[in-house]
């Protein structure tokens, strides 16, 4: 971009030739910056632990709905608890059980609880009837172990909520009995899927990205030096 050999009064117009001659002249300097960026990228890839991803989909329990007077609606089925509540279970640091923390390779500290939240992606699916979860953990085995423990926690939580709801429904509807109402438990809809290769870090993107960033930084610094030299020359000339 810049050309430090240009006198201050020279036109700042850039042509393809001036860009080419600049790149030719500064090739070694720019290459050094690119290599520096590349080395930083390689370093980051080497020191960043690889993470595998385990993902699963849990279908939430269902039961008959109650109307506003507490009367059981035999033809209306609702998701109890909604996937939104189950999702919250996985996105609040204070709600993880000890066994979940241990299975996912964390200890019971505030920092580790927050780290586990950051490694989990949870969202509702299928109009709130299911919860989709993905967790990123340093090894495949641990990812599977962590996923299984999270599944157990979510299913236990969801079923407990649903059972409370069903018990309450039966208590306030003495004419109904447990055998005639809808009462399905939460369940895993498909086996846990674990990525074959680490999903993070992405070595190629990281190395190329940092190499390009290095190159760009080199250009920027050279341009700043050029502007500084230009101004200094201007000031000297005015004195």
């Amino acid at each position: 971009m810049s050309d430090q050999s240009l006198p201050p009064a020279c036109s700042p117009i850039i042509t393809l030739d001036s860009a080419r001659s600049y790149l030719k002249r500064k090739a070694r300097y720019l290459l050094l910056w690119a290599i520096a960026g590349l080395l930083v990228g390689v370093g980051v890839v080497l020191i960043t632990p690889a993470r595998y991803e385990a993902s699963f989909l849990i279908k939430m329990p269902t039961a008959n709905a109650l109307n506003e007077f507490g009367v059981l609606q035999p033809h209306l089925i609702k998701v109890v608890p909604p996937a939104f509540d189950a999702k919250k279970l996985l996105l609040k640091p204070e709600l993880f059980s000890n066994s979940s923390l241990v299975s996912c390779g964390y200890s019971d500290t505030n920092a580790d609880r927050k780290a586990l939240v950051k490694s989990i992606y949870a969202t509702e699916a299928n109009y709130g009837s299911s919860v989709l979860v993905a967790v990123r953990i340093p090894s495949r085995e641990m990812a599977l172990r962590c996923a299984n423990q999270l599944i157990a926690d979510v299913i236990a939580f969801a079923n407990a909520e649903k059972n409370n709801y069903v018990n309450y429904s039966l208590q306030v509807n003495k004419n109904s009995n447990a055998s005639t109402i809808v009462n399905t438990d939460a369940a895993l809809t498909a086996p846990v899927r674990i990525s074959d290769t680490p999903v993070s870090p992405r070595p190629v993107s990281l190395v190329i990205g940092l190499m390009l960033m290095g190159l760009l930084l080199g250009l920027l610094i050279d341009w700043l030096r050029y502007v500084y030299a230009w101004r200094n020359r201007g000031e000297e000339a005015s004195h």
Partner: protein, 435 residues
Amino acid sequence: MLSYWSPAYLLTKFVNNFNLALFISITCIALLWMAYSLIYKHFVHYRLVMMSFLVVLVLGLLQFIRPLPLFFVPDLVIALVALWALVMLRQTVSPAIMLVAGLLIYFVCFSTPRLDIEFDNRYYISIKPFLYLIILYFSSSAKLTLSLKPLVYGSIIFYPLTLLWNVALWWHRDGFFMSRPNFLFENNFEVPWILSCFVAAAFIYKDKDLRLYLLVAISVILAGSRSGLASFLLISVFYLLSLSKVKIAIASLPITAALTYLVFIRGSSSVNALQWEKIDRVQTLLGILAFYDFRFSEILIYPLGVGIYQKIPLNLCNRMEGYAEWFTGSYFNCDPIMLQSFVSRSLFQFGIYVLILIPILFFWEAKKRMGWYLAALSIIPMLAASFSVGGFSNGIAFGGFLLCFLAYRQQQLSSPMKASTMSAVTGQGASGSLA
């Protein structure tokens, strides 16, 4: 059975839909008269113009019979122009190119990895604003030898006729009045280009011919694009202020007509302030704001958005049933492209700072080259489209914006006195033509 296009058949249709047919007939006559007189005024080779018009009609017919995947064409043309501008480079290049390149590298290489179980996003569309900015930085002052006037005037004259042609084809085949006709792409994409052509004609070439304005107004009315209407009205304010009192009165008619037409054709959702939340683009924006819990502080927590690889939240995707399938071909592929508007998508993918920065960078480059008045006018079509469709990531809208730069440069160099003044101000050599 009467054959299609036979006078008896058409007459029957005309009588059966009298009001509509009358409206279309009047529009058609007015259009043909204005088109004829403008062609007579601006073109010399009438046979060539008529041949071009026939080609345009045939293209419209082919696209109507069998829609072709033409969405790559604007980007292909922009890429060719960019390549040409790079080879013939002779201008100042803004240092902001480094910031844009940095953002491009950041979003491509350092965005959070996508979920392993998800489909790929259409990443190219997301990064297009950065690519367009880079192209702009080295082609904003390029000089084309080939005059752009035929393209500018040809687009303004032919576009409403192609819309009428499209309306006629729909009416003939399916027997109803198509309220959102288009030429080759989509009305929301095409109107920004026509408005850019109008900006070039009225403000860069300083041609205040009211017929041009009326043709553009009819295009906007026929196309039924809400974002197009908004930008048309904004440009009209600048346009009206530059006219005499009599011309202002005449030019006010199409504005009133455009608004009235929109109220009747597009129904309450277009202009009814009480039902604005029913507009799909508003719904997507509200959905993304819901992702941030409607709190500005939450938006600031994601200073650079969530990156280009993430899907939009499933609850929002589910709420907009059918959009994922429409935009990605899969019901379950919640690519942020389904949010349609650039504003919603960029707020989610790039964060609030980059969302604000992108229009500023486009405007800044325009201001540097053309001054704030023309910069503001040129950016209006693209800015308005960004609330509706791609906007700053839309090839046709950017093509129109770039056209204004190229037309301005051409116009500037065609006036030697002004060119010498400008070169003294900007340091750009008029003698450095790329021709």
